[in-house]
Amino acid sequence: MTYALDGIRVLEIGTFVSAPYCGKLFAGYGADVIKVEPPGGDIARAHGPFRNGEPHPETSALFLYLNTGKRSVELDLRTPAGLDAFYRMVEQADVVIENFQPRDAQALGVKYDRIREVNPHAVVVSITAYGQDGPYADYRTNNLTAFAMGGQMYITGTQEGGPLKNGGYQADYQGGLNAFSGAMLALTAAERDGEGQHVDISVQHCMAPLLESGIPVYSYLGRWMPFRRGNHMASFIGIYPCTDGHLGIHLMPRNWKPFLETIDRMDLYEDPRFKTQADRTVHNDELMAEFFAWAAGETKKDIYERAGRMRAPIAYVHTMADLLESPQLRERGFIQQITHPVAGEASYPGPPWWLGPDGWRPEPAPLLGADTEVVLTDVAGLDERQIAALREERMVSV
């Protein structure tokens, strides 16, 4: 079996979500990903949620998930010997991923120019909220503020409730996925030309164009909708409570008839108020009242299955329990059991896309510093004395 990234070595000096998600994808598709953690580890280790709610650096679900299949080196880049060891590893790397703020990266000595000098073949991926330069490049950011500045927050939530972020760390994940695609393009070029480059990912730049038709329509026609539409783009695109959860419908014109057949309301098919999508838009509130009344009597899994058979776009809001029980995800092998030496067994999402049935490596996240000695020996080429000195220095600096 060949993994798509066989033979690729990645150095990840990223923390929290964006760079680790990028690194996770590299590891999943077969690269050797060396995660360089600061003394004490990636802050995601301190973040949780933890097994049984008890903080422990090896049982944070956030860390466990985002760092599957990597090796961990605990190294203090603030010491000269630590930084030197880092650059020795850079010599052996195809890709370097980092998500420091530009001025923190400079202060730490993680600089593109120096990496390029040491290894011109390397692809260096920098993930930040705003990019490497510009008026906000040094502004402090996190997932919340990036979500706001990327334009996605203004359109999320209800008008009265105010702008809302989506669950979890969506701006950070978008950064990680965009970084992976940008990095893969640069790696493709590097393997062809023998020359690396700097891939500068601005999460704001990635997020802002994605507001459905919002940007094209505003830019071209000067029109935009200055409000939030909550759970309903229209009566026929929205979320409705049912007896045991929530249903989501998304009806295009051609789905109208199969939808009414599914919910056994063909009387509405003849109703002149709802003949065309335009009619349904005009009589939006009346139709919404019908849908609220209908959904309130349904149970989510039954109607989902019936709608599936009858080709009507009715889904239900899957909880985490629903995901784990999903017959679809289970049959496809998307839910994968991974056993971690400290955190134990847990269920993880599988590959975000499939490069054949065996194209993805489901392996646990590393213990903090588990591979320090091996990697410093094999990759950085340090001898026992140098490693011992590093260990000493780290103790001094911590």
Partner: protein, 413 residues
């Protein structure tokens, strides 16, 4: 400088958002993307541009279409006809990648399954982008844009505190699948270099988005607790929220990651004593008293504009970001500085601004090289230059309606 995907030819059978957005980025970074539209079944986005049907060639003027289909060629071909299928297979012989996002059974019904295309070209990389996947009990279920995030578990985690699950502001799964397509294609191209033959890639949109809430799946499987929506709050950090500003519907987000940052915030609020206040001196204390903190911050932000509040807070090194509207992201100084929007011209649609390629690659940057194609604009290029068909055969394709220079106008009225 040679673009990363220079020399890679892509047959693009995708429509609407996820697929076209992804293949457009392949085009941004150098691939030759040939968008295949049937004269009788063409891309819905051409019809969603709010262009009056009285305008000449209105189907070429939809900005929604034109943003997501630049850097492509348009080739009109009816795959439902035997001759159309034959021409498509000939095109696949000359291509590296095929991307499709039809309902799961459509390609099989056309006789264009992976196996059929592989027979024509064993080197082809065949990418399917279905909602649920090409296998499993739900594979034929219909799922559109907003359904994907419901199926992915994201909606169950989103919403105001104590409120019901909340959708995202857009069909979030679509652009995430499109973004993933670029790396999926690059990975498959590398695999082809290693193995010497093509492969099948399956990008199920709900799986791709489920990966964005993976930590909550791990958490649930370890702890058995369903987490409820927490609005804009954070599990540990406080303050961490969205605050009203002066004017109508203006907002700024503010977060404090540690004690120093909170002390800086307290100074901006002109209440430096807050950082000594025992309610707020520690992260745990701030979390416990976050509602009181929210009121103090809102009292300050509501006296200021949202950009103004952000800049004042940032000068004090406090994490803050204005909630930008659509016009504001287009005028934002940072995005302008980065060249995030570029002027663009189209022979039918005129001149306006569209987004630059998203990722800045220092040595091989992406470019907007071509305007989005007018329907059937490159029929001649594909039939003559790429496929080398005889004039006789081309005339037959036109007369039998397998290809056409005009779309069937009644489709998206």
């Amino acid at each position: 400088m040679t673009a990363p995907l220079d020399g890679v030819r892509v047959v693009d059978l995708t429509m609407v958002w996820a697929g076209p957005f992804g293949t457009r980025m392949l085009g941004d970074y150098g691939a030759e993307v040939i968008k295949v539209e049937s004269p009788g079944q063409w891309d819905l986005l051409r019809a969603l541009g709010q262009i009056p049907r009285t305008e000449e060639r209105w189907w070429n003027k939809s900005a929604y279409f034109n943003h997501n289909n630049r850097d492509k060629y348009s080739f009109a071909l009816d795959l439902g006809k035997a001759e159309g299928r034959e021409v498509l297979l000939e095109l696949c012989r000359q291509s590296d990648v095929l991307v499709e996002n039809y309902r799961t059974d459509v390609m099989d019904n056309f006789g264009l399954s992976y196996e059929a295309v592989r027979e024509a070209n064993p080197d082809i990389i065949y990418v399917s982008m279905p909602g649920h996947g090409k296998s499993g009990p739900e594979k034929d279920y219909v799922a559109y844009g907003t359904n994907v995030e419901q199926l992915a578990g994201l909606v169950s985690l989103s919403g105001y505190e104590g409120g019901e699950p909340m959708k995202t502001g857009f069909s979030y799964g679509d652009p995430m699948a499109g973004t993933a397509l670029v790396s999926a294609v690059c990975l498959a191209l590398r695999k082809r270099r290693l193995e010497g033959h093509g492969s099948f890639v399956e990008l199920a949109q709900r799986e791709n988005l489920t990966a964005f809430v993976g930590e909550w799946m791990v958490d649930y499987s370890m702890n058995g607790i369903e987490r409820q929506p927490t609005g804009n709050r954070h599990p540990h950090m406080a303050p961490h929220g969205c605050y009203p500003c002066a004017g109508y519907d203006n907002w700024v987000t503010v977060a404090c990651q540690d004690d120093d940052e909170f002390a800086a915030l307290a100074k901006v609020l002109e209440q430096p004593e807050l950082s000594e206040d025992e309610r707020f001196a520690t992260a745990a204390g701030r979390k416990e008293h976050e509602q009181e903190l929210d009121a103090l911050i809102a009292a300050w932000t509501s006296q200021r504009g949202h950009y103004e509040a952000m800049h004042i807070l940032q000068r004090a090194r406090v994490t803050a970001g204005a909630v930008l509207t659509i016009p504001e992201v287009m005028s934002d100084p940072q995005l302008r500085y980065r060249g995030g929007w570029v002027e663009h011209s189209h022979p039918d649609a005129g001149t306006w601004e569209m987004e630059a390629p998203p990722w800045q690659l220092s040595r091989t940057p992406g470019h907007i090289r071509m305007h989005a194609p007018r329907f059937g604009e490159h029929n001649s290029y594909v039939l003559r230059d790429v496929l080398g068909l005889s004039e006789e055969r081309i005339a037959e394709l036109y007369s039998s309606g397998v290809t056409s220079d005009d779309p069937e106008k009644s489709l998206h009225q």
